[in-house]
Amino acid sequence: MKLGIMINEGPYTHQASDTAYLFAKAAIEKGHKIHRVFFYHDGVYNANRHAEPPQDDRNIVNRWQKLAKDHHVDLVVCVAAALRRGIKDENLQEGFRISGLGQLIETGIQSDRMVTFGD
């Protein structure tokens, strides 16, 4: 199945990104395809490459980056939401890209299921 994911919350404060990651990983392991992960609202902070969590904690940003690299997952950060919050190409982690909300709609159209992780 082709899955689309939207993440609406930032890392660490909220579990949304963690749950979405675990969901995506499990789905891929089961042979499904993640068409795209779209980061919206505070979810854009998941792409901040300056995030430095303590050594003994999970690195949410890098975890997404690795998943994207290993499984060719398209990680898209909403441009409007990102600019509002100071996420730009300069501080964007590798593996993410900034694009428009149309990418979210397109994900909904192209995916068999669209799953939202948020508050």
Partner: protein
């Protein structure tokens, strides 16, 4: 247009597929940014010629209440934008009756024409959709 739509050319990008999209609004218009950014999605979505409906539940019903005055909190009153939806052919707006009544609101309190439906009908509406985006 391509910038607003994330560089997607409508015809080639979506292959002429029309899906039923339901945008579920559950949060108050101010206090958090969800309502505003949800509206931004809906306005972009209008460009994609999809079958769009909006649902207002819980505190989300406050998003379309008349007479919003936001000056004292120094936040833009974006409620007039809901009236623009009609111009984008987005005319299917649903309000959950129970949410509306629990907040002492009536149909005439809303700035846009809505269809008030009960929880069961709302459930049926959700069941009939292809894509539900909840904010």
């Amino acid at each position: 247009m391509t910038e607003a739509t994330g560089g997607i050319e409508m015809e080639e990008g979506v292959g002429g597929k029309v899906k039923k999209f339901l945008y579920v609004n559950r949060k108050a218009p101010y206090g958090t940014i969800y309502a505003l950014e949800s509206l931004e999605v809906v306005l972009i979505a209008a460009a994609f010629d999809q079958d769009v409906s909006l649902a207002f539940l819980d505190d989300g019903v406050y998003q379309i209440v008349k007479g919003q005055h936001t000056k004292p909190i120094d936040v833009k009153n974006f409620s007039p934008a809901y009236r623009a939806l009609e111009g984008y052919d987005i005319e299917k707006l649903f309000v959950e009756k129970e949410s509306m009544e629990a907040r002492g609101l009536k149909e005439e309190d809303f700035i846009v024409p809505v269809k008030v439906i009960g929880t069961q009908e709302m459930t049926d509406l959700m069941q009939s959709q292809d894509v539900i985006l909840s904010f």
